[in-house]
């Protein structure tokens, strides 16, 4: 399949309504990602959008991240469809589940992809908060002794 770069899609200038581009651009801007400390790996993401394939090359070097559209040797080549990629980079689909489901194909190092998942966001509706439950509520849910 031909590799086509959408106009203005190079890192630093994200398209409107392009969550994948925004995600990779933002990742590249961070430069140092704490969760990748002491990790080094190169991943290539081939994102299929109809007939086109958009490529992102992510080089992690001891926690420092560089993102480009270059073609290069990668420890892991990760392929997915654009719609799935958008859901993953916005936290609507969990990447590990997507891999088990067959939405993501990974050639090469599964370890590199497992590492990479650490920079993906959680579900947009997750708050990290939950209302306390009283002892009376717990007891009411359980059959009497």
């Amino acid at each position: 399949m031909p590799v086509v770069h959408a106009a203005g899609s190079r890192p630093g200038r994200p398209d409107a309504a392009d969550p994948v581009g925004e995600f990779f651009t933002a990742l590249g801007r961070q430069r140092h990602v704490a969760t990748f400390e002491r990790e080094s790996a190169t991943l290539r993401f081939d994102i299929a959008d109809g007939e086109r394939v958009r490529r992102w090359l992510v080089i992690v070097d001891n926690g420092t991240v560089a993102v480009s559209h270059r073609n290069g040797r990668a420890d892991a080549v990760v392929r997915m469809r654009r719609a799935d990629a958008e859901a993953i980079v916005t936290g609507r689909i969990n990447a590990q589940a997507a891999m088990l489901r067959g939405l993501i194909a990974c050639q090469g190092s599964v370890g590199a992809l497992t590492m990479f998942q650490r920079c993906l966001p959680g579900p947009p509706d997750s708050t990290g908060r939950v209302a306390p439950i009283t002892s009376e509520q717990v007891m009411a849910e359980r059959r009497p002794r």
Binding site: T35, N94, G102, L103, G122, V130
Partner: protein
């Protein structure tokens, strides 16, 4: 094997069959070929001329290999068979089975050999909960193989069945029309491969479970691997002969429990239990790694790396994930793939995170492997940050838990994870969030140990000083807020209002292990642990007699857990209670002798004088990793093995009946050291209970 089932496994692939080698699973029945949490065969039945076979004998040769001796007929009335059949089965990316048909007559015989095969491709969770499937099935003959396939959207799983001898293949199995010469034999090999599938209509393929590339992988020489594994461990000699058998059983079972992840295929960590829990569990893998450090430190280093790889980095309510949190359980089946279960991974455990830091330090003390400590500095710092930033759900500076996934998340996120495990004296259950006492101990220990690592390895004395200050503050508050003055012990938890959950439970033993208990309070704790309410004569009960929910055969409310006891003994030793620790070692190892070297997950909390023998608690998993590790930790405790710089200190306090005990070639940063001791502790008074 008990209940007439035979199970063999390698990694997370396992086969459970009846004693004939046949599989006839129902949707809720647990026999079958399983791999990556999916059942790949639910039917596998051998017939000769349409007749089922009958087992004469069955051998579990190794944990990965079984042999079945069979004859035709129902077996109700035994007649001299003119024919016998031997099945030899070995697990490897599915399984490999050799079928031998022996003709005992003086004339050739024509036979129809048939293997019926089918698969329901059930997720392990579906087997447990009897859920209906949502995808489509297909069976076809393809290139000399019978292919059973399942597809739900892009999720595909396949079972490939082929034979070395030519077979007639239909959608329900393989048939062989054969002639066996007089006093001769016929043999075929059957190869069953559990595989993923690359869906044709997408750019994606399956990167997880065994792709087709694995199908022709040469079977490893697993028997040689097992011998090497046992050969690397220290050698044990003891006047009390059962201990040698227990030790050998533990090493063999640990070998069976070794599990490799897709990210580190050449390294092993301990899975939680065989066969249903052959996966990474944060808590179980850490506790087992701690128990086995003096014997095989590789399990600890793999566990630490694997857990760091999967450490939480985001807020995910479905998975109870927070940044820095160490995972609880990972699964690979269909329900996890479609996010109907949260195990990708699930993070609902409040103890694994501090225990991760504890293990990292203990590992370095034994091995001197500072490289791993440097590699995992960021992970350890994130874990410590989780304790302060995400675990303080009550806003009082204590680690607490409450699930955010109210449907499929875990209610109790401590090791006692059943619904009634944490209760007040009167039996009422506290609300949420809950702060159980042992979590505070682990958090304290994590800070103290991380301070050492920060000073020695990370070269960050400022961070070290801060951690030490926080630990001291936590200890001071804990001894004030958790102490049940009228009982002389620590409350099992603080409830959502900060009120004491005032029952007496085995959790107090872990407080000695972690060092959070004030010295002045330790004697009272030790007296309770070996006292009549908690100590059964075999071990420490999970909940004390006299509490409203106490039940000697209650899972976490009275049963005795060998793993629990091994850490309690370590704690007693830490505070100088040598004889008490020896009593627990004697009781639990005595139980291990009764259970033929393999300790169950738990056994009844009945007084020893009442039942004479320990009563097994019925569970599906055996061996269980942390029960397997318990005798090993008890050996360490009884011998008083403690790393001190580049030396191994040995300070034995052994039960009398052990006589002379030698543990030779204990590996560590000192290379290899021998540990010797003689049994001098009289444990008879307490064990008579």
């Amino acid at each position: 094997m008990s209940d007439g089932l035979v199970q063999i496994l390698e990694g997370n692939t396992f086969v459970v069959s009846d004693e004939r080698g046949d599989i006839e699973a129902s949707p809720t029945d647990s026999t079958g070929l399983f791999s990556f949490d999916t059942r790949f065969l639910s039917r596998w039945v051998l017939t000769v001329n349409g007749q089922r076979l009958n087992a004469l004998s069955t051998d579990d040769l190794q944990y990965f290999q079984a042999r079945f001796f069979l004859v035709p007929g129902t077996g109700t009335v035994y007649v001299d068979a003119k024919l016998s059949v031997i099945r030899l089965r070995e697990v490897a990316d599915g399984f490999h089975e050799e079928i031998r048909v022996l003709n005992h007559e003086n004339a050739p015989v024509d036979l129809k050999i048939r293997i019926d095969a089918a698969s329901d491709f059930a997720d392990l969770f579906e087997v447990k909960d009897a859920l209906a499937k949502k995808g489509q099935y297909q069976a076809r003959a393809e290139g000399g193989s019978l292919v059973l396939a399942y597809r739900r959207e892009t999720f595909g799983r396949q079972t490939w069945i082929s034979s070395s001898e030519p077979a007639t293949i239909d959608e329900k199995g393989l048939s062989f029309g054969i002639t066996v010469p007089a006093h001769g034999e016929w043999m075929t090999e059957l190869n069953v491969v559990a595989a993923g599938e690359a869906p044709a209509d997408s750019t994606a393929g399956l990167a997880g479970p065994a792709g087709h590339g694995h199908r022709h992988r040469v079977r490893r020489d697993m028997a040689r691997g097992l011998a090497k594994w046992i050969g690397r461990a220290p050698e044990l000699r003891c006047d009390w002969e059962p201990l040698e058998r227990i030790y050998r059983r533990c090493l063999t079972d640990l070998a069976a429990l070794r599990f490799s992840t897709l990210t580190m295929p050449d390294r092993a960590l301990p899975a939680a239990g065989l066969p249903w829990f052959m996966t990474i569990f944060g808590r179980d893998s850490i506790f087992t790694s701690l128990q086995t450090l003096p014997f095989c430190s590789e399990l600890a280093s793999t566990t630490l790396r694997a857990l760091a790889e999967r450490q939480g980095t985001r807020i995910d309510d479905f998975r109870d994930e927070d940044p820095g949190r160490i995972m609880h359980e990972v699964r690979y089946g269909e329900l996890t793939a479609f996010e109907e279960r949260p195990h990708s991974p699930y993070y609902g455990s409040a103890d694994a995170t501090p225990l991760f830091v504890v293990l990292l330090d203990e590992y370095e003390l034994w091995t001197g492997d500072t490289r791993l400590v440097r590699d995992l500095e960021q992970a350890a710092r994130a874990a410590l940050n989780w304790i302060d930033e995400y675990a303080d759900l009550q806003g009082n500076g204590y680690v607490a838990y409450q699930r955010r996934n109210a449907t499929t998340g875990l209610e109790n996120q401590c090791w006692k994870d059943s619904w009634e495990s944490i209760s007040y004296r009167n039996g009422d259950l506290p609300g949420f969030p809950r702060a159980t006492c042992e979590l505070q101990g682990y958090a304290y220990d994590a800070k103290v140990r991380a301070a050492r690592l920060a000073r020695v390895v990370w070269k960050d004395p400022v961070f070290a000083a801060r951690l030490e200050e926080e630990a001291a503050d936590l200890k001071r508050r804990f001894n004030r807020d958790f102490w049940v003055a009228d009982g002389g012990y620590f409350a099992v938890a603080l409830d959502a209002d900060g009120r004491q959950v005032d029952s007496l439970a085995s959790n107090v033993g872990h407080l000695l292990w972690s060092g959070i208990a004030d010295k002045s309070k330790a004697r009272s704790i030790a007296a309770h642990l070996l006292g009549p309410r908690l100590f059964s004569g075999w071990g420490v009960r999970t909940l004390a007699e006299g509490e409203a929910r106490y039940n000697p055969i209650g899972y976490h409310v009275g049963a005795v857990w060998p793993f629990d006891n091994s850490f309690i003994a370590w704690g007693l030793r830490r505070y100088g209670f040598r004889e008490e620790a020896a009593c627990i070692a004697d009781g639990i190892l005595g139980a291990a002798e009764v259970f033929d070297g393999r300790l169950p997950e738990a056994f009844g909390g009945y007084a020893r004088s009442v039942t004479r023998y320990p009563v097994r608690y019925p569970t599906a998993c055996s061996p269980q990793a942390w029960s397997t590790g318990a005798p090993l930790l008890l050996l360490r405790v009884a011998l008083g093995l403690e790393p001190s710089g580049d030396n191994l200190m040995v300070d034995p306090a052994l039960p009398e009946r052990f006589g002379r005990l030698e543990l030779l070639d204990v590996p560590g940063r000192w290379k290899r050291v021998d540990a010797l001791g003689r049994g001098r502790v009289d444990t008879s008074r307490l064990l008579r209970r």
